[in-house]
């Protein structure tokens, strides 16, 4: 696979937006036209209140919605032209959304099955992906036998098995308890660094955004739009020390202030 040109954004929104007709009394819902570039290796977090169009933005990035203004480009091209049948973009949905009737391994193999990859090759990739999230021992179990955190890890393994370049995550850890969430955040950072993944991550949590991102997009509602971009200085490793550092605290403070301004 050719490495993407760093000068050309992996994902670009050119005045792209999508509004939904609400009742006349309601404020317009959805996402007003925005422009946004995401380069290879970025970890971009969308942070904002409910109704600010975060999920709409992610759905546009996943080509699950068509924009009603502007356009979205992947590797400078349209979704189909960019060879996305090759699974260069994948999604980790809000819930684990696993198939309860199949084993963990079969769930992780899903994108490869859809691609019609030969079984032996697929199984090797599944093993690798399960090892990355530390779940190789439960490969044969059904999802119902796992805890919420483990199920989410299976969902991440499924995304990794596809060998994506762009990972879209829609509040993946929102339903988990704080400890599990923190552990998974740390794992995510390491996974993305090691695999050279580009990630677009939606969250409600300021701490999560501060910990994970190279860039935080603070969004405002009514109509959904980008309020501010906040680059996070990538210096130093993202580990427990970072979480306890003054720098982390000051990032959280800045983001809190921006969110408050966005809500005004």
């Amino acid at each position: 696979m050719t490495r993407p040109d760093p000068a050309r954004p992996l994902l670009a929104f050119h005045g792209a937006g999508r509004m939904f007709a609400g009742r006349s009394s309601d404020a317009p819902r959805g996402l007003a036209p925005i422009s946004l570039n995401i380069a290879a290796g970025d970890f971009v977090t969308l942070l904002g209140p409910s109704g600010c169009g975060k999920s709409t933005l992610l759905k546009l990035a996943a080509n699950l919605l068509e924009p009603d203004s502007g356009h979205v480009r992947w590797w400078g091209r349209g979704f189909v032209d960019a060879g996305l049948a090759g699974h260069r973009v994948t999604l980790v949905p809000q819930d684990a959304t696993l198939m309860p009737w199949r084993s963990v391994a079969a769930n992780v193999r899903l994108p490869l099955d859809l691609e019609r990859l030969p079984r032996a090759q697929a199984d090797a990739k599944v093993d690798q992906a399960l090892r990355k999230v530390g779940l190789e021992s439960v490969a044969a179990l059904r999802p119902s036998a796992l805890s919420g955190g483990m199920r989410m890890r299976v969902s991440i393994a499924r995304a990794l098995a596809a060998g994506p370049e762009l990972l879209l995550m829609d509040e993946p850890f929102a339903a988990l308890d704080e400890l599990t969430r923190t552990a998974l955040d740390t794992e995510m950072v390491h996974l993305c660094e090691r695999s050279g993944l580009t990630t677009l991550f939606v969250t409600h949590s300021i701490a999560e955004a501060a910990f994970l991102s190279t860039r935080v997009i603070v969004m405002a509602a009514d109509p959904g739009r980008i309020f501010a971009e906040y680059p996070v200085d990538p210096a130093g490793p993202r580990d427990e020390d970072f979480r306890l550092s003054d720098r982390f605290a000051s990032i959280c403070r800045d983001l809190t202030r921006l969110l408050a301004e966005a809500a005004r």
């Binding site: 699950l64 999604l91 198939m99 899903l110 859809l114 119902s144």
Partner: protein, 261 residues
Amino acid sequence: MTGGAFGAMVRGIVGPALVLFFVLGLWQGACDAWSIPPYVLPAPTDIGHALWRDAPTLTHALGSTLLVTLSALGLSIVIGSVIAFILVQNVVIERSLMPYVVVMQVTPVVAVAPLIVILVHNTFAALVLCAMLIAIFPVIANTLQGLKSIDPGLADYFRLHRATRWQTLWRLRLPSALPLFLAGVRVSSGLALVGAVVAEFVAGTGGNSAGLAYEILQSGFQMDIPRMFAALFLITLAGLCLFGVTTGVQNRLLGRWMASR
């Protein structure tokens, strides 16, 4: 673990069995104590005797009724699933056809049965058709609901990964529909038996294709009440077996993931 399961099974059998013996004992005792004649209320022993005496005729009738029931159930499953598939294809088709599926369901088959018996010359076909009209609705309704009850997150995932229509059907729609489909089949199996018996009553067919309902009618005419009870007992037994088999199939197919949910 197995001890617990075994214990639960024993409790599940011993309790109902005790109730059965108690009720049968009361029944027998009452019949003996007040010397109730068998043509008013036969004692369990009278029914047992009738069952033994008329075993050849009754088992033949049972076979006949079961054949109608199972044919109707089989056809309901096949045709019902096909109809559900057609309905789920698009909203216009569903909106246009669903009212007629409902009309079919709300029209009492007992009222339609005489018409079917007149229109369809082959008696067996007429019986199966009547039973099917009763049994097919749960299959249609449940399969339709099942085919629609897809996890929207998974549906998005399939779409993002550009799954073909066939892949989505085979890997997502059918497995998602399975639990509701099987529940529909279970309800349908009971209704197929009801339909078969009702159809036999209406058709009143004797001879080689005489079913249990015909035996009940005949016994009534002959005032052979114990035999009437014996036939009724066999219908109940058939219903219980159908319920057991469909529940077993359901548990076997779904047990791996439904039980632990």
